[in-house]
Symmetry: C2
Subunit: 187 residues, 2 copies
Amino acid sequence: MAIYIALLHYPVYDRQERVTATALTTLDVHDVARLARTYGLKGFYVVTPLRSQQTLARRLIDHWVTGRGAAYNPTRMEALSLVRIADNLEAVLAGIRQEEGGQAKTIATTARPHAGARSYEEMNKLLHKGGDASYLILLGTGWGLTREVTEEADYVLEPIEGKGYNHLSVRTAAAIILDRLLGGVGR
Amino acid sequence: MAIYIALLHYPVYDRQERVTATALTTLDVHDVARLARTYGLKGFYVVTPLRSQQTLARRLIDHWVTGRGAAYNPTRMEALSLVRIADNLEAVLAGIRQEEGGQAKTIATTARPHAGARSYEEMNKLLHKGGDASYLILLGTGWGLTREVTEEADYVLEPIEGKGYNHLSVRTAAAIILDRLLGGVGR
């Protein structure tokens, strides 16, 4: 079983719930790559259709994987080696299909209530069953994944329950989600 | 029971394991404040002896709590209202003593193995027992809390176990630690 994660910069909502493409936050790329390495994911896709943003992501990755950064901080190289860049979700799925020989099941994440959302416990059990399936966890930037992406996903994870507060950064939300799905013993 | 968290910029190690004061990362202040709000903590101390860094932290907080940011993003205001600034760990403990009427028990976090480190399960149970005690979770920046801070803590948490990789950002580590200690049902 292979598990992948994707950070979508498009299509996501902006503050006014209009569909937009967000700018890359380089720190998110570092943080999610380090999380992907920590939890044994097979790959981390940075998804943006914007060429300028792809160039920025590529420069960052090259610096740490083959450039000066690799000698300066080998553990960062190890994490950033997992990063791939894709134009859109279709391209991510095509990439995984090529690598794994089958279609990945998608797991959308959201901070909004969603009818039929799965509990962390249920998804944790599913992911620990193993088998041949590949999974792709979808993270949204901005004000979250569009309804279309969420509705087309194979699974939608329930929001992270806070004490009446539901406004984490995508970096820290990704940390909690991966730990609940894949971390620790007996989770 | 009241739980606090502190992000220490001094005393921490640098790459060469020399004791240093790190610079403030404004994003860490945002992320940890949002986590503190999510998990119902009573306060979040940003600890630095450097006046310039305290000024930066103060400006950031003022912008979001009483300045223009408050209207722009009220949820951010809610989170950043929890932030206090302190010169050192002693000042944090004195502040909590004043607020809670008793000494807080400190819980150090580390990415290194530590003899006598407590499991998340044990600390989760302790924190869910309630009672009168206050707790202060200590996070280190740079290359981590100094041995002195760790050894003087009442409890040391075991490192986050990754698949042979132990290099998370302090933001994402804080997210995982708080979720394991305080999040979800039955954790």
